[in-house]
Each structure stands twice: as structure tokens, then as C-alpha cells.
Symmetry: C2
Amino acid sequence: MAKNESVSMSVIRRLPRYYRFLYDEMQNGAVRISSRELAERMGLTASQIRQDLNCFGEFGQQGYGYSVQTLYKKIGEILGMDELTPAVLVGAGNLGRAVAQHMPFETRGFRIVGVFDDAPQLIGQSLAGNTVRSTDELEALCAERHPVAAVLCIPKESAPALVARLVDAGVKAFWNFSHFDILRVYPQAVVENVHLGDSLMALSYQIAASENE
Amino acid sequence: MAKNESVSMSVIRRLPRYYRFLYDEMQNGAVRISSRELAERMGLTASQIRQDLNCFGEFGQQGYGYSVQTLYKKIGEILGMDELTPAVLVGAGNLGRAVAQHMPFETRGFRIVGVFDDAPQLIGQSLAGNTVRSTDELEALCAERHPVAAVLCIPKESAPALVARLVDAGVKAFWNFSHFDILRVYPQAVVENVHLGDSLMALSYQIAASENE
């Protein structure tokens, strides 16, 4: 599907919300929805919703609104949900295990094709339908399965060397839970950083600010 | 510390990054840093950094730059790190356990004063220095420890009833891993949503978009 190059990150960040919301509506039996209803339920304005969706083509019909199923499917295509991206999970400690067990990767556009950790007690265990392997096997697996993305659930200290190996092995996208700044070293990489601690500190700020109101 | 009411969320979201960065610099023995160095290392412009920090008062000295330790401490105060906010963790399943074990709450401004779950096999277990209790004890603990915040590691379905009880018991801030839209029901609440799946879908979009370039 053709992508509009000029779509801003703030629009892109709203798409998953639309996608989740439309899924719930479908489950509730909704067949169509107007941009006004969609706006009201999602806490946005109708004009914002029309603008967001217009970035990707014409979806709605004047006076009819949107077909919930069609819009869900279209947004899924825009998000790349229709083709699963092969990915490796690097780091099978507490965080890696929780991510693997909690996240339905296949309904979010990814298929985990390999799980790696260096801790001897983890190697050989089963996780997310994969057997945890030593990172010694990283290059061999990449040569065989061609993962495009890596989920990094490793400490910052281990990240530079592992990211270098992953990039050399053809991985170009990272879901990065480590605090290593990948883009600073690999500006061509596609990176989504997840800094949970930053989110917690932003909450702390808002609590402190609300107490001072 | 007085807060500037007009500080935008985008500035607030950068503060934790400054805070982490300055901590690393301190560990590396840095004593002072110019806004130009800070900018270069963080991928921002020097003028953006000066603007960000000016929102909170005068920190730097012309020609000297910033004292790393002073700036770290000041940003910590702005973020409310100097006073730990009491919080409960609700949900001690995979996600709750990973969050509890992975997140250094006390260096991010919070102290966990109670952990709750309804699964009989979890109640009585130890987690994050707390014993997992039945949610039946929620109100009693809130009356005793006055938590201001709740970390919600529960499914969307369980969230409405539990959030209602937490709000009634005086909790006003939520670190929300569930997909329940708290602000829609409690517009006065302070909420940080963590939608890990949305981040993963945004990564999928960027991969698809980069392949179509």
C-alpha cells in the first residue's frame, strides 16, 4: 500500500489507537461509525479524525460515515499488520520474558523467529514458542531466517556490541527497551524506544505539578 | 519547588532524558557541560535545550555552561524525585512481576507500599519487597498508607471496577498499563498510559514505510 511520505509521527502514533478502538467496536457488533461518534469516543475532534485518515486516502462516505470493518482493515494495512515482520528477541531475563508472554506479537505485525540470551540457566528454555539460544548462534539464525527487527530487552551495557552484530546481520529495525541510543550510532536504523522509567518520571512530574496548583 | 504552569508536555517528556543523560555524565566524572555539548550528545539544538531549561528558571552561567551535578539535582526536583510518592501495584501477573522486578521505583520518584492480585496462587508471595495481598484488602491499605498513585498491570476488563475503588480510596494518579481509558471516566485523574502494543505497531508502520521509500 502506498504511504504518504509526509505523514507526521503524531498521526502515526494515533493510528494504533484507532486500530484498537475499531477492533473493540467490531467485537461489539458495530457496522458503521461517523467521524463525530469516533471523535467523541476517542476524545478527539471530528475534523482531526478526518484529517488523520485523509493522509492515507478516502475512507469515509459523506452522510454514511466509516464502515468499521473496512476502516479497521485499511488501518491495519497502513500499519503493516497484514504481513508479519520476522523479529528476534534478544534478552530473556525478567523483562524479555514478560514482553514475550504479555505481547501478542502476531496481532501487532511481528513474528518472533528466535530468542537469545547468554545466561546458561536460560539457554534451552522455551519462550514465546521458541527455544532460548546462546547469542553465539545469532548470525547463523539471521542468515537462515532473515529477521528484519530485533526486540532488545538487554541492559544498556550489552547493547552496543549486540546492536552492531544485529546490524551486520541485516537487522534494520529495533524495539528498544535498553537505554542505548541506537540512532546516534546508526542513523539509518528504524527505532522505537521504550523508556518505561521516563514515563514514570513524567507521571511523578504531573503529580508534583498538580499538588502545586 | 514552584512549577511553571505553562510548561508543555513535550518539554516535560524531555526532562527524564536530560536526567538520565546527566546521571551518566556524573558517573563518567563530568563536572560541567555547555548547552552545545549537551545538545550534540542528545541530538537536540543548543537553543532548544536553553529554552527547555529556561522554563524552570536560570540554571546555566554564560561562558561556563551548566554544573552537571546542580542541573541533575534541579531537574530531579522538578520531576519530583526528591520526595517519593507512595504507590500501590495492582496486578502481580507476568506484567506486574516484570514491572516490579525491572523498574527501580525509588530512583524514579515512587515507593511501592502495597501489591495486590486476586489470583489465589499469587497471594502471599513476595514481590518488590511487599507481600501480594488480595484486592479485598485494598481499602484497608489505602486508609493506612495513603497511596497517591497506582500502577495498573491488569486486563482492561478488570480496570473499571478497580479504578473506581482506587479513586474512592484517594488514589489520584495512575501508571496505566491496562487499555482502560481512565481519563474518559475520571477527567481529573493524573494518568500516564503505557501502550506497549501501540509502540510495536508504530515500529511496524515505520518498517513498512521505509520499505516503500
